[in-house]
Structure formats: C-alpha cells, structure tokens
C-alpha cells in the first residue's frame, strides 16, 4: 500500500469533516479571487481610460473643473459647459501640439425594447436625470480621430456617414445589437456599422457617431465637451498643458492623465484595501475552520496515531501524513473556491449588477488563490500535525 493511498483514504474517511475543511479554505480562495477579479478589472479599466489612447491630456471649459478625470473622453461629463469648437483649430496651431480633436459627449436613456430614446445632453444639466445604470453615453468624434479616444473596432467598420454609428461591446450586449442592426436615438434611426472596444468599461457602454451628427442631434452646433490633445514627440505634455492653460486663462482648463491617475489611484487603493480587508477576514475565518476541524480530526485519531507510532512510524511520518491530508484538501478547495469565485462574478455580470465589468482573469490572481489555499492548508494542518507527531505512544494508546 502506498503512503499516498493511505492519505487519500484518510481524507474520505469522514466526509462531512473533509467537506467542512474544503469549504473553509474555499471561502478564503473565493474571497481573494472573486474580489480580486472585480478590483483588478476596475483597476485595469480605469488605467486604460487614463493612460491608453493617443491623447496626452484633455482641454475643457475653464469653469468646469474637477469633473474631467483624464486624457480620454472617459472623464466627467456631468453639468459641464462646452468649449467652442474654434478652440480646436487654435490649439492645433500651438507649438508642441501634434494633434487636437474635439469630442462631444452626452448621455441618453435608451429603451432596450424598442431602441427609441431621447438624448439629454449634459450641458443642459439633465444628463443624469435618469437612473445612471440605464444611461448610455453618446460620443461624437470624427471617424479619423477614433484612436485619440482609444476606440478600436473589433467587428464591422467605422461610420462613414451621418446615419451610421458604432457601439461599444458592452452596449452591444445589453442592447442586443450587432453590426447591421438599427438603433433609434432621439427619433432618428442609425445603422450600427461596427462594434468597438476601448478597455474602459464606461466607454464600452457607449455609442459613437460623427461629431457633426451629435452636434446636430443635441443642438450643440459648434461646441464640444472637450478637446483631446496629443503633444509632438519630445514635447513635455505637462508643460504643454500649462502653456495652453496660460493662453486661455479663466477660459480653458487642462487635465493630464497624471493628475487623473493620481485621483483614480487613490480611489482604487480604497477599493483595493476594502477588498483585501474582506478577503483577510474570509482567510482568517477559513483558517480557524481548518485548524479547528483538523484538530478535531487528529484528536479523534489519537489512539490510532499511538498505534502507528508503536508499530514503528516516525514523528516525521505522522507529521507528513497530517499535513499532506490538509494539503490535499486545499487542492480540492482551490477548485471549489475558484468555481465559487468565477460563478459569483459571472452571475453578477450576467445579471448586470455590475454593468460593463468584464472579468479579466490573470495568472497572478490565480496564483493568489492557490497561495491562499496552500497557506490555509499548511497553517491549518501544521499545528495539529505537530501535536500528533509529539504524542507519546503510551499516552496515545491510553486515549479513550
């Protein structure tokens, strides 16, 4: 008989006890992986929104500070004032500016069943009038400048005329639209010609059309929400942003990705700390469950351990047996814990409790989950194993 066979037989000897250990460890794994999935996805998405794309910073109305978080158009668009579109051309002429692109943003409440809607641009202050979770962002930008907003077509083509739009992949799912379908916005029918992805969960919930069309649709002709600016090679983006701000005092304001990053990072750190606190609590609870259960398992087998010592088993062999049992249970718990974590996150995303969050699994997160399980297995097993190995054979044999 192999030693490994004996370990496996011992594990399945008391199924309810083993299930309890597996659940204890699985809770820890599920907490770490599940919460990690959400926070990692949020972090990744936010980082994409802030740092990706061609734009180095954005220029907004000088009286609208604090809302626009980043260089992409994913910044704030609530209660903002517009920038005159003529500023786009002026900024383009400033030394050090590689390109400047005007973007108009608004929010709309699209009805999923008939796809009819009415836009309510943010400039009118009614952009957040409805339930935010049911709002869809509409972005107006020239088709040739999509890369400035980090928009990449994953299916179909870019819009080429005023009656065409492209929609974000999350919006496509929630609206059940694909290339070739039509969508009605403000009583006007648009053909979906492409699906795009930005990596920013907010923008992926949106619809993009030509700037002029959105200006017409919202009655904001000649106005943009923000200007995306890309510095030329060798030009410091922060210096350029300061130059632009100084040229338009009290009129325009700039927001670099760096400052946006800092603000977002602070927020993400709070989310991440909260997630770790919950995970730690789950790990502690799981650890206690494992230790108590393994202690009980060892206690129940005291006499048996005494017999094994009497027939010649070494302390090391007893230690190895108990820790191995704990580790095998940890391996089972890894599978269970990962299944619980992925299941819950999938359930949350498919039921749209977290709109736009597409879980992104990483090897690091997987390793964290495995690490937690093995740690709990070792911590939970080592003390009972140590106690078992130190048992005096005569005392163990007397145990009733």
């Amino acid at each position: 008989m192999k030693f490994s066979n004996l370990i496996l037989k011992n594990i399945f000897r008391n199924k309810s006890r083993s299930i309890l250990v597996v659940i204890g460890i699985a809770i820890g794994v599920a907490a770490v992986v599940g919460l990690g999935l959400v926070t990692d996805t949020l972090s990744e998405s936010t980082q994409n929104a802030l740092t990706a794309g061609a734009a180095d910073f954005s220029v907004i109305n000088g009286t609208n500070t604090g809302n626009n978080g980043g260089s992409g158009s994913g910044g704030g668009f609530g209660n903002e004032q517009f920038v005159n579109q003529t500023s786009v051309g002026e900024i383009q002429q400033i030394s050090g500016v590689g390109s400047a692109v005007g973007v108009l943003r608004t929010m709309t409440n699209l009805n999923n069943t008939n796809s009819t809607s009415s836009t309510s641009n943010s400039g009118s202050g009614s952009g957040f009038g409805g339930n935010f979770r049911s709002m869809t962002s509409i972005i107006g930008i020239d088709s040739s400048s999509l890369s400035m907003d980090n928009i990449a077509i994953t299916n179909g083509t870019v819009f080429s005329n005023s009656n065409q739009v492209i929609i974000g992949q999350t919006a496509a799912q929630s609206l059940n639209k694909t290339v070739g379908d039509t969508i009605i916005i403000s009583n006007q029918t648009f053909k979906v010609v492409g699906i795009y992805e930005t990596g920013n969960f907010m923008d992926d919930r949106g619809i993009v059309m030509s700037l002029s069309e959105l200006q017409n649709l919202t009655g904001n002709t000649g106005q943009v929400s923000l200007i995306l600016v890309k510095a030329t090679n060798g030009t410091n983006a922060n210096t350029l942003a300061t130059t632009i701000q100084q040229k338009y005092p009290n009129e325009l304001s700039t927001s670099t990705s760096l400052s946006g990053n800092n603000r977002m990072n602070n927020g993400l750190q709070v989310i991440s700390s909260g997630a770790w606190a919950v995970s730690l609590l789950a790990i502690i609870i799981g650890g206690i469950v494992v230790i108590v259960t393994m202690m009980k398992a060892v206690s129940e087998r005291t006499r048996e351990i005494g017999v094994l010592r009497a027939i010649g088993w070494s302390q090391k062999r007893i230690l190895t047996m108990i820790i191995s049992e704990s580790l095998v249970l940890s391996l089972i718990a890894i599978v269970v814990g990962l299944a619980i974590a992925v299941g819950i996150v999938e359930l949350i995303t498919t039921t749209h409790l977290l709109i736009g969050i597409v879980p992104s699994f990483s090897a690091l997160l997987l390793l964290k989950g495995i690490g937690v399980a093995l740690l709990l297995g070792i911590i939970g097993g080592i003390y009972p194993a140590y106690r078992a190995s130190r048992l005096s054979p005569t005392e163990a044999l007397r145990y009733e």
């Binding site: 008989m1 066979n5 010649g312």
Partner: protein, 231 residues
C-alpha cells in the same frame, strides 16, 4: 550473548515520582523464549512491556533489547520498526483500511517496494488463516479474526520480539485459546521471542516461563510445562 533482553534495576515513576510503576526490575529473557508477565492491575506489568517495546523511557537502570541500549538510543521508532511486533488488547486496527492494508501499515515506513509489501502481507495473512478476508474492513470481522489481523500486522516486519499486551483480554475463552495457540505456534515456527502480559493464570501458564509482578518488582518466576502445568 544468548539473552535478547537484559534489564537491570529498571525504575519508572509517574506523577512527579509519586507513583512508582517500576521499582527496580531485574530480568533476562533468552532469544526465542516465550514469557508471560502476570500480576494485578497497576502492578507495573504493562509499564515493563512498554519499556521493552521502547514506547516509553525508564528513569533509572539499564535495559538492553536486541543489542540496543534503550536508555541511550535516540531513534526509538526505528528500533520498534525493526525489532518489535506489538499485539494490543483492543486489536487497534485502522477502521477505514482493509485487512490487507492494515497488515501493510508498518511496512510504509520501510523502503520495501509496494508489490513486495503486498506479497509479504498476503503471506502472513495466509499463515493466520485470513486469506479469504483480505479485502474486508475490520468492522466486518469477529473479535478473534481482528486479533489475528493484529498478529499478522505484528509479524509483517519480521520482528525479533512479539509483545502482546492482554491479547485475549477482549475475547471469549474459546477464542482466547485459539489466539494464544496461534501466538505460541508462530513463536516456535519463527523462533521469535514472545512476551505476553496477562492477568489470566491459564493463559500465563501456556508460556515457557511466567513472571509475577507486584508493586513494580518481580516477586516470582516459574517455568511452565508445555501442558500448562507449573513446575
């Protein structure tokens, strides 16, 4: 040296010296001898057996077993594995393992290959007439059968000494006789030294020599005839 066990002035106390379990034991046992240790409860007979089996260490004195100085030896588990086969009163089999697996448990600690391990266990089980029960769990066996499995487990590592602590204590008289005869038969065939602790005089008389222990000391020694009549 013809003696497999030599004990001189062995002492063991418990409860900070208040209980004198062994109070100066002197004993010599020859290789291949069968000896019964008899005495009332608390006389120290099981403690003496535990000292010989290296399950516990004495406080004072000398104890040599199979050329091992047990007062000095560090790795007692290896000594037990190589030299001692234990048979307990309550068989102490592992309930979730089959008869065959139970018999193999001492061999897990050795480097014997799995196949050889199984062959040896099957051979021993055949010698105790349990070949037809190898895949059964101990809970499905009678008391006598369980004790025979325990004897097989004690023999599987070919020990030089079998230590049986009240091996018939939980058995009826008929089964007791069968088990003692089996132990004595193995003792003769394998030329293995047999030491039995018992409180039953008729069982004690079946060994070649009986030692009477009282208050941690050997009070009397008797040679027995093969028929169980004292001489």
């Amino acid at each position: 040296m013809n003696n497999i066990i030599e004990i001189k002035n062995l002492k063991k106390t418990y409860e900070n010296g208040t209980i004198k379990a062994l109070n100066g034991i002197d004993l010599e046992i020859k290789k291949g001898e069968s000896v019964s240790i008899i005495g009332p409860s608390g006389s120290g007979k099981s403690t003496l057996l535990n000292m010989i089996g290296a399950l516990d260490r004495a406080d004072e004195g000398n104890i040599y077993v199979a050329d091992n100085d047990l007062m000095q030896k560090k790795d007692l588990s290896k000594f037990r594995l190589n030299e001692i086969g234990f048979v307990f009163q309550l068989h102490n089999l592992i309930p979730n393992l089959t008869v065959l697996e139970n018999v193999q448990t001492p061999l897990i600690e050795t480097s014997i290959p799995d196949k050889k391990m199984e062959e040896r266990a099957l051979e021993i089980l055949k010698s105790v007439n349990l070949s037809d029960k190898i895949n059964q769990k101990p809970t499905k066996l009678s008391g006598g059968e369980r004790q025979r499995v325990a004897i097989a487990r004690a023999l599987v590592n070919h020990p030089s000494i079998i230590l049986a602590d009240e091996p018939t204590g939980a058995l009826d008289s008929k089964t007791s006789e069968i088990i003692i005869k089996l132990l004595l038969d193995i003792h003769k065939k394998e030329n293995v030294t047999l030491i039995m602790v018992t409180h039953e005089q008729n069982v004690a008389n079946m060994a070649e020599r009986s030692i009477y222990v009282l208050d941690g000391k050997i009070k009397e020694e008797k040679m027995n005839t093969p028929t169980g009549i004292n001489i």
